[in-house]
């Protein structure tokens, strides 16, 4: 603030001085030119008028000399001379003095005869002295008598070659002085007027230059403050106008550039923040320059807190800190897998790369990729593969082992040989069922599967499934009640719903007690159709319920295998119902029975 204020006054001071400078220089030029002109004019006029005056005075003196000559030469008669001289003097209205060759004043038109006699000897007066030498004498002198500048002209009165007397005419210079005074006054007045005019015009004229300059300065100040939305409104076709146009164009270009840069940076920010991967950027000393939304979420830090701090101050993760140190130290790409334990266990792949500036490491870019789900899926797949191989190997062990046993002599063992063959058969059946279920599952999970919806009668479908289990039901003495409304139409993939019903009813029979019961019914829940298969079997311990739909999950492994289960039936049910956008579930009381249900959207 302080700094800008100083520049402010500095600028306006310069503007003022520019104005003053312009006015002063105009004034000096004007005063000098008018002054010099006036002075020359004055001097010329003065010299000319004086010369004219002298010439006329000399001529008049010559005429007076001619008139007075007879009276002076011959018998000088003072009275006649006086009379004549008086007459001439009054005619030409000039002071007339007649001086003898000796310097004695014979006549002076301004003095009486008595006074004349008391007058000084005039031979020493410059003009008289010149005239006595035979020339025309002239001089300007301050007259003590009249207290005024006087022009004196003296001509000799010649008799043959002798000078008898001198006639002198004197004239006061008042008229010339008056004229010169007028000229001087006019010159001074003119100069003063010019000065005033100069000042007024100067102010007007300099304003016309300074005003647009001020505009430009004000707008430039806005520019330097970073606001490029202003324009200089000055349309004159001069240099300042050109400057204004250039400035406007520059501002527009900068504004456009800023707009494009800021839109680019907004895009980048949007990308940066919408990235699923966490991104951390640090400078070369390991101070966080920026982090994105994902990092905020992963490490529960806010951007405001983190940015500008050393990494470890903001994010307490030593492993990533070491990665950053490594990058800043070695300047090579680095990748590492880290596990976070809080707040939930998550696995991250950390990729870090140095940011170079002029071939030296200037910072680090760390990208954190959450691979928890990938790792989990890998684990699920690995577990599944291990489970499948175990499930396949167990029946194979029996089949191989009993065949070997039979071949090694048990064929002759009448007590056991049939039993062994039956065991082999049952395990072969189990393998067959397992392979079929695995194929179903793999097909259901393949994503290419299409749900082929048709409208069909659910009651009839259940009856068909039950017919298939007739012998099983009879063997265990189980009562079945199909309470689903007759002609209840559902829209679903008929073959797959058939499989769902088969798997659920198969379980309801397998895990039921002797002479137990099964009830099938349907109800409408939240606009969905809910189908329930209720049995009076052994039930499921509550700890197993959350995992009952997982692949190969069995409550009682040995019993399940004994009953020919693959461990995949419920998993297949879940997949099929989810393909129909439905849900599956179970409610069970251990020892009393289970209620398996599934829903289908109507």
């Amino acid at each position: 603030m302080l700094l800008s204020k100083t520049t402010d006054t500095g600028l306006s001071m310069k503007i003022k001085s520019l104005k003053v400078k312009l006015i002063i220089s105009y004034s000096i030029i004007a005063v000098l030119s008018f002054g010099i002109l006036g002075l020359l004019l004055y001097r010329n006029t003065k010299a000319n008028s004086l010369r004219e005056l002298k010439l006329s005075l000399v001529n008049q003196a010559r005429l007076v000399e001619f008139q007075l000559k007879p009276a002076i030469v011959g018998q000088p008669d003072t009275l006649i001379l006086e009379k004549l001289a008086q007459d001439l003097s009054s005619r030409i209205n000039l002071r007339l003095t007649v001086v003898e060759a000796s310097g004695k004043v014979l006549f002076d038109s301004e003095k009486t005869t008595l006074d004349t006699e008391k007058m000084d000897n005039h031979a020493g007066r410059a003009e008289v002295s010149l005239a006595l030498d035979g020339a025309v004498g002239e001089e300007i002198r301050f007259s003590d008598t009249l207290k005024i500048d006087m022009l004196y002209v003296a001509v000799p009165v010649k008799v043959k070659d002798n000078i008898a007397a001198v006639v002198r005419l004197a004239m006061p210079l008042t008229s010339i002085e008056t004229m010169l005074y007028t000229i001087r006054r006019d010159i001074v007045l003119t100069v003063i007027m010019v000065l005033v005019l100069m000042f007024v015009l100067g102010i007007v004229f300099t304003s016309s230059i300074v005003k647009p300059l001020n505009k430009i300065i004000n707008v430039s100040k806005k520019f330097s403050a970073g606001d490029f939305s202003h324009r200089v409104y000055y349309e004159a076709n001069d240099e300042i106008g050109e400057l204004a146009r250039t400035l406007n164009k520059m501002a527009k270009d900068i504004e456009d550039k800023i707009a494009s840069v800021s839109s680019q940076s907004q895009q980048l920010t949007a990308i940066f923040n919408s990235m699923i991967e966490g991104v951390i950027v640090t400078d070369k000393s390991g101070v966080i320059v920026s982090i994105n939304q994902a990092v905020e979420d992963i490490f529960k830090v806010s951007r405001q807190e983190a940015e500008g701090k050393l990494f470890l101050e903001a994010v307490r993760n030593n492993e990533i800190y070491e990665v950053i140190q490594n990058i800043l130290g070695k300047g090579r790409f680095f990748s590492k897998e880290i596990t976070l334990h809080l707040p939930v266990q998550r696995v991250f792949e950390v990729n870090a790369t140095p940011i170079f500036k002029d071939a030296s490491v200037n910072g680090a870019l760390v990208v954190i990729h959450d691979i928890t789900e990938i790792r989990r899926l890998e684990t699920v797949r690995r577990d599944f593969v291990a489970n499948v191989s175990h499930e396949l190997k167990t029946p194979l062990t029996s089949i191989k082992g009993f065949i070997e046993t039979l071949l090694e002599g048990a064929l002759e063992d009448k007590e056991n040989n049939r039993n062994f063959l039956k065991i082999i058969q049952s395990h072969a059946d189990r393998l067959d069922a397992l392979v079929n279920d695995l194929l179903s599952l793999s097909h259901l999970e393949s994503k290419e599967i299409r749900v082929d919806k048709t409208d069909f009668d659910l009651n009839a479908q259940i009856e068909e499934v039950l017919r298939g289990f007739k012998s099983h039901l009879k063997a265990k003495g189980i009562e079945v009640e199909n309470a689903v409304l007759k002609n209840l139409k559902v829209s679903a993939d008929k073959d797959r719903i058939h499989q769902v019903l088969v798997n659920l009813i198969d379980n309801a029979i397998k895990f039921n007690k002797e002479k137990g019961s099964i009830k099938l019914y349907a109800e409408s829940v939240n606009g969905n159709l809910k189908v329930i298969v209720e049995d009076s079997g052994m039930g499921i311990p509550s700890k197993d319920i959350p995992r009952i739909f997982e692949r190969f999950y069995r409550v009682d492994k040995a019993r399940s295998r004994e009953l020919g289960g693959t461990g995949l039936g419920l998993s297949i049910v879940k997949h099929i119902i989810e393909l129909h956008n439905g849900a599956v579930g179970v409610e069970s009381t251990e020892g009393l029975g289970s209620k398996f249900w599934f829903t289908l959207p109507k």
Binding site: A386, H390, K393, T397, K400, E404, A410, K557, A558
Partner: protein
């Protein structure tokens, strides 16, 4: 000549029966159990020269039973033959560390199992001559 007593610990009824049938046919005294807890109970009260042990069992698993046998402070220790469908090197190494004497992967040849049991029987007889 006294034949060795063998305990078969295997949850799969048919595989358990298969092993028991073949061992009996070869003259061994065999007892069968079908889960971990049952096996533990049996081993706490009786001594078996050889224990044939599945790993994945309901209740206590095969590894724990093996450790219990090998860490027992009572005189003779049973020979342990692990039989499992699990075949990873990790499982085999773990069984070895716990002191299992042999590891057979399912599915197996019956005659291989019998010959291993026979060999152990020979070792057992030598032990009997040394033992007081």
């Amino acid at each position: 000549m006294e034949k060795a007593r063998i305990l078969v610990v295997e949850d799969d009824k048919d595989i358990n029966g298969l092993i028991a049938y073949n061992l009996r046919k070869n003259g061994f005294l065999v007892e069968q159990v079908f889960d971990g807890d049952e096996a533990k109970e049996k081993l706490d009260s009786e001594f078996f020269s050889i224990v044939i042990l599945d790993i994945m069992l309901p209740g206590i698993d095969g590894f724990d039973i093996c450790r219990d046998i090998k860490e027992s402070i009572t005189g003779h220790k049973s020979y342990v033959i692990m039989v499992s469908a699990k075949g990873s090197e990790q499982d085999k190494l773990y069984a070895h560390i716990l002191g299992a004497d042999c590891y057979i992967q399912k599915p197996f040849f019956v005659k291989d199992l019998i010959s291993i049991v026979d060999e152990i029987s020979v070792l057992l007889k030598k032990d009997y001559t040394v033992a007081p």
